[in-house]
């Protein structure tokens, strides 16, 4: 009986020790994708957001105490037009006159520089633990989602289209065209989905 208990303890210790972290070094594996694109980026917005989270504890969910965090972050958003989408039929040339139908403007890149993310304030009370990096990353993901959603209210796509028209007008002027007509896309035909 006594031995059975000792064996049981050894067994438990063995099982639990195998639950621990692996100390093997990380391998340098390469996973990448190279894609050829043809984007004309014409507008860049830098936006800032304060991410506020109030993680209230309750007795029923075994979280005794509250946690609060305030994080600030910045995002750089670039928009423009995909020139690869311009078909031959979209460009009409007649002597010194050129008429182009532009594809709809779209978001080209979204950058949230990790160096511009700051934890401004943390408050922990009761038996709660501090925010781990995993939890902070989850909170930042929610912040990123909120920025992407709010971005749709910005004028970035309109600005991108206007700037693309100005650039292409100058470009064709330099090529010797005298009459340049560039059509934009109607707002309702734009893709509001953000990459």
């Amino acid at each position: 009986m006594k031995y059975r208990f000792v064996y049981w303890l050894i067994g438990c210790a063995f099982v639990l020790s195998s639950c621990g972290t692996d100390d093997a070094p990380v391998k340098d594996e390469e996973i990448y994708e190279i894609r050829t694109i043809g984007m004309l980026s014409t507008s860049e917005y830098t936006v800032g957001k304060i991410i506020k989270l109030d993680d209230k504890g309750t007795w029923t969910n075994w979280k005794w105490g509250d946690r609060k965090i305030l994080m600030s972050c910045k995002a750089k958003i670039r928009a423009g037009v995909d020139l690869n989408k311009v078909k031959d039929s979209d460009i009409k040339v007649n002597g010194k006159r050129i008429e182009i139908q532009l594809p709809p403007p779209e978001i080209i890149s979204f950058e949230m520089n990790p160096d511009q993310i700051k934890t401004e304030m943390v408050e922990i009370s009761g038996l709660r633990t501090n925010f781990s990096q995993q939890e902070k990353n989850t909170i930042l993901r929610l912040g990123e989602k909120a920025i992407r959603k709010d971005m749709q209210q910005l004028e970035i796509l309109n600005d991108a289209e206007k700037n693309a028209i100005v650039f292409l007008t100058d470009f064709y002027k330099a090529l010797g065209f005298e009459e340049i007509i560039i059509h934009g896309t109607e707002q309702d035909k734009r893709n509001r989905q953000i990459d």
Binding site: D28, M39, S41, G48, I50, P114, S132, T138, E144, D150
Partner: protein, 218 residues
């Protein structure tokens, strides 16, 4: 007779209380050791978005490079005594208990898996771009392609292992390491050079001329 009945009922109540306490204890111990992740339940408050800067740019992006890297930072215990006291300390933290019950001599470890997106192309706002007809040819002078944007966002960042307490600046250092790795991959794959071909194709598609086009990089 009646006294016996009362005694039996009292005994039954006592036993029920003991069973209840044992069940409560087991639930408490389970919750203590396996707190689970409550991060999925987070809800952030709705705060306004501030536009800090609006800039007019002119960039022709011709290569999009998506890379995934693993970056890691590890610290080991110097001796067994430190390992034992370190593992005991980890028992006091909910999130660290699983790392405390371990034969491994890892004191702290943070492993991130990061997916990034790099854009290569030419910046025509910062550097001059000229179109000149010369000797029956159209000469386009454009700057050499360069790396124009690196996106490493929280959505594409995974904290794979977090053993021990890690500060923000330490996580940021790892993210900078990931960025450096991605830039190095881009250099090794000669993406600046590879950005030239689609750029030339794009310019030739845009320029409607009968003249032969010559593209010069500077």
């Amino acid at each position: 007779m009646e006294r016996n009945k009362i005694r039996e009922i009292a005994k039954l109540i006592k036993r029920l209380i003991i069973v209840g306490l044992i069940v409560l204890g087991v639930v408490f111990v389970y919750r203590w050791f396996f707190p689970g992740t409550n991060s999925d339940e987070f809800t952030i408050e709705d705060t306004p978005l501030h536009v800090e800067e609006i800039r007019k740019i002119i960039q022709l992006n011709t290569i999009k490079f998506r890379d995934e890297v693993v970056v890691d930072s590890v610290e080991y215990y110097k001796n067994v005594a430190e390992q034992i006291s370190g593992n005991i300390n980890k028992l006091y933290e909910y999130d660290q208990v699983k790392h405390a019950i371990s034969h491994s001599n890892v004191k702290r470890r943070l492993t991130l898996v990061i997916k990034g997106e790099l854009l290569y192309g030419v910046d025509l706002k910062r550097k001059e771009f000229t179109v000149t007809p010369k000797d029956g040819k159209l000469i386009l002078r454009i700057p050499n392609p360069e790396l124009l944007s690196i996106s490493l966002n929280p959505e594409k960042t995974d904290v794979f292992v977090e053993n021990g307490i890690w500060r923000d600046y330490e996580r940021q250092a790892l993210q900078r390491k990931a960025r450096t790795k991605m830039v190095a991959s881009g250099e090794r794959l000669r993406l600046k050079e590879k950005a030239k071909k689609p750029l030339e194709r794009l310019l030739k598609q845009l320029v409607h001329t009968k003249l032969p086009i010559v593209i010069e990089y500077y």
